[in-house]
């Protein structure tokens, strides 16, 4: 069995100061994953724009980068989503915005809408750079969810292709699963025993998933699993931040309703406070 989750990578190309860095990141990833790159520009096509893109991407000509540029006027969210469908893009790269003065990143409103609606995987980059910064540590979620197995597999694939050194699988366990409330020594002891049991169970589950992954992807990488009791979606971001991860891989949200946005949970927490680059897998 061979893993190849991505075939076509898409990126929105706006002519901003970040363009060069964004293009370089996207091109590099396309090469790593052996993919075709599709650049989507919102607006009318023009020779000038094409030329600018070409100049930037010339650096990758020698590596045989295969790319395509699509011009599409209209509402950016709809335009990008429609191109994604037309061109069968399975990984969409979006840039994040840095909050002024703070070293905090968040997803801008357009990118956020796209993330919520996209049917493909989405990669959110917090600081694209022209020079390659090696990805060393990948954090991936190990939620008890049907999608998780696929997500972990993809994380190993990405780790292999990017030559990462370490993958940490974080099992977020809802606090409510520990049914004992800590009041005194007795209940504290009970709660801790219960937590230990859940921890063992979770570790076993993750171990099983890893065993199903072809050895080729798992052998050169340090694997760690870390159970965390806390708020789903939020604590993994927090963990990625303090463990100085370079990439956070997560399941894409199943469905989004109005209420999910009003009472932010899971993915919404990550979108308002990007801890690092985030890859959301469909």
């Amino acid at each position: 069995m061979s893993l190849k989750p991505f075939n076509t990578i898409g990126m929105g190309a706006a002519f901003s100061p970040n363009l060069k860095a964004n293009l370089y990141e996207a091109a590099r990833l396309s090469l790593f994953f052996n993919c075709k790159l599709v650049l989507i520009h919102i607006g009318e096509s023009s020779e000038d724009k094409l030329k600018t893109l070409k100049v930037f991407l010339n650096a990758f000509k020698k590596d045989n980068l295969e790319y395509d540029v699509v011009f599409k006027p209209g509402d950016p969210v709809d335009a990008i989503l429609s191109v994604t469908e037309e061109k069968n893009i399975d990984l969409l790269i979006l840039g994040a915005v840095q909050r002024e003065r703070f070293i905090k990143y968040y997803v801008g409103s357009i990118a956020r809408k796209i993330t919520r609606k996209a049917r493909c995987s989405v990669l959110l980059l917090i600081k694209p750079s022209v020079e390659r910064v090696r990805c060393q540590h990948i954090v991936v979620n190990g939620l008890k969810d049907p999608k998780t197995e696929q997500t972990i597999k993809a994380a190993f694939y990405v780790g292999k292709q990017l030559e990462a050194e370490k993958i940490t699988i974080v099992e977020e366990i809802k606090q409510e699963q520990v049914t004992v409330k800590v009041d005194d020594d007795k209940s504290l002891r009970k709660a801790n025993i219960m937590k230990e049991r859940i921890r063992m169970r979770e570790n076993l589950r993750i171990k099983e998933i890893i065993e199903h992954i072809p050895e080729k992807y798992t052998k050169d990488i340090a694997i760690k699993s870390q159970p965390i009791f806390g708020k789903q979606g939020y604590s993994i971001g927090h963990y990625a931040q303090i463990s100085r991860a370079d990439l956070l891989v997560m399941n894409a949200p199943s469905k989004m309703t109005f209420w999910d946005r009003l009472f932010p949970h899971d993915i919404e927490h990550i979108l308002t406070e990007l801890p690092t680059d985030v890859l959301m897998l469909q």
Binding site: V182, Q226, F229, G230
Partner: protein, 733 residues
Amino acid sequence: MSPKKNNIKDFFTALPKNVFSGFVVSLIALPLGLGLAMASDAPPIAGIIAAIVGGIVVAILGGSHVTIAGPGNGLVGVLLVAITTLGLDSAYAAVVCSGVLIMLLGFFRMGKLADFFPSSAIQGMLAAIGLIILGKQFHIMLAHKIKREDTLDYLIEIPYTLNDMIHYENKGLIYAALAGILSLTIMTFYAKLRNKFFQLIPAPMWIVILSIGFSYYFELVLHEENPISKQYMISGIPEIQQIIADIQMPLFSKVGTISFWSSVLAITLIASIESLLSIKAVDKLDPEKRRSNVNRDLKALGLATVGSGFLGGLNVVTVIARSSVNVNNGATNSSSNFAHATFLVLFIVLFSTQLTRIPLPALMAILVYTGYKLASPKIIRKIFSIGKEQLIIFFVTLLITLKIGLISGILSGVVTTFIIHIILNKSLSLFLRNVLKPNVLMYQEAEGDHNFYVSVKHFCSFLNYYKLKDKLDAIPEDHDVIVDFSLCSFVDHTVMENMHNYQELFKKRGGHFDVIGLDMHDTDSEHPFALRRLLPVPNIIKNNLTRRQTSMEELAADYDLHYNSEKQKEVDFLNSFLFFNTKHINHIYNQLSYKKGVINLFDIEFSEGEFIAKEVVRSTMLHIKLDEAIPEFTLDREGFLEKVYAFAGFKDIPIQDHSDFSRRFYLLGDNEDAIKKFFNDDLIHFFESNPYYHVESNGTSLLIFGKERLASVKEIKALFDFGKRLREVVSNI
């Protein structure tokens, strides 16, 4: 985890000790109960009823181990307002209602309520309560009853009362004022006198005994009337039959009014805050290092308050001073709380007529001292040293509490704190955007020592401290914890203070609690507040040494010792000694060390008890590290008190064939066989032929000291010599 113990057997072996300490507590609870009730304008017996009901109900149903329940100091202010606005009967109804509310707090697991208040605001509120008590009772203490509308007026008039007192003509008043002054003197200097026999009876009980004795002296010896004016004697201590006959339903007719419910709310607020703070403080003193079930305690306190209200008593809260006395007298479980209630019943049944011989000013002196302790200048100095902004919060809360009322006071404290935080951070959005986020991450590291790692994001202040607390409370105290604030752009004083408390708690229970990631905050000018000041910083070196210090320096030079006069806060090595189980070590200083610290002699400052029962003690001690493990034991001179203790269940280990040693020394320890084996002829001869010292072993080292005061240079030499020779004898075993 500890193995299961034989609970029933343990309970009965510990019972005598607990009954004994319950007895000592009842000695302090009796005068305090009478005084607190009178200060709130309730009949004196109401305080005793609260203590009795509280002691019985909380002992049986409560979730804490060594706390004492009874009428509280903090409540005097609110109860006074309730009784003056509603009248006594309706005030009892308010007490009943507040009991129900407190019970509900327990059922809804609102034990964390007290965490939502900034600590400087709570300090300000307590100081205001202290001033209310002090202001009102000061005049009665000096036999000058006045009645004013405003609490501030009472304080302003203190100089007038002092002036009036000097010009008293009436003999009755002079005697009354003298009784007050004498009692205040006893309260103030009690802690300074370290005499075992004197200390066996708590200061408030000395006042009671002396004043009753005084009255009998006039009656039986001089055949005169008690010279203290009649109106300054306690009146209305009913006989037990009368108390039972007088029980009547509280008056619920004012339930519909706003003033009724604002009283209920104020009482509930203060009662729960006082109880929660006390439980937290007592847990730190618990020799067996147990954790109290706060919510269960709240339920029990609520129920006790309901009962007490129906029987004509005040609110029942957990009280810190009495609890600390309880711990210091060897209590191990809640049966001492029960015993304290039982003894109070006995006192009322047997001595209710004698109690009317206590002059009011004497009783009020106890309260004046309590009030002073709540609002002492020391507290203000401490708050100032943390930060000027804390002083603003403190005084805003204090003044508004005095001027308007308790609820407005504490609310203004909360608002002021929040505004100050916004100004300091120059950002409101930091708080608004992040207040609801689950900003605390805790996990047990999967590798290494399985440390708990806690990381806090955004900001951490009184607003969201409960989230951090929730996580920290889920960690057993004998584990290692690292709290990382490096992602946190603002940490307030309340949190820092609580972190400090956790540090102490973990240290006492064998764990480690480290706070990291605050170094960056120091360099960042945006938030210097309290952070730098509260983390332990070495004190500024004193330039000039005292005479004793210079002689110690000379001594060090003569005997090839290393001398260090600075205060040291690292006293972990002492915490495992039994002696310090219920005591809090502040610091050690003037350290003389021999052979790279194998033998260490130092002055030590420690405190025992809390609040009005707090005593700060300075002593000189010797610490010896041993090469080999020995059994744990405590050895002291056998005296009258030890015989009393032995009666209460502390067991002296007899050594065979050395009856002289057994008679003169008092030997304690768990592992009796090992200790008997360890005390061989050489060691016993050594102890018999040398001066008495208190010697204690924690298994790997020895702690030796003479008296509970600083030693002179000559005594230091003797102590040092004793230690050196003892070490040789022990290492030969």
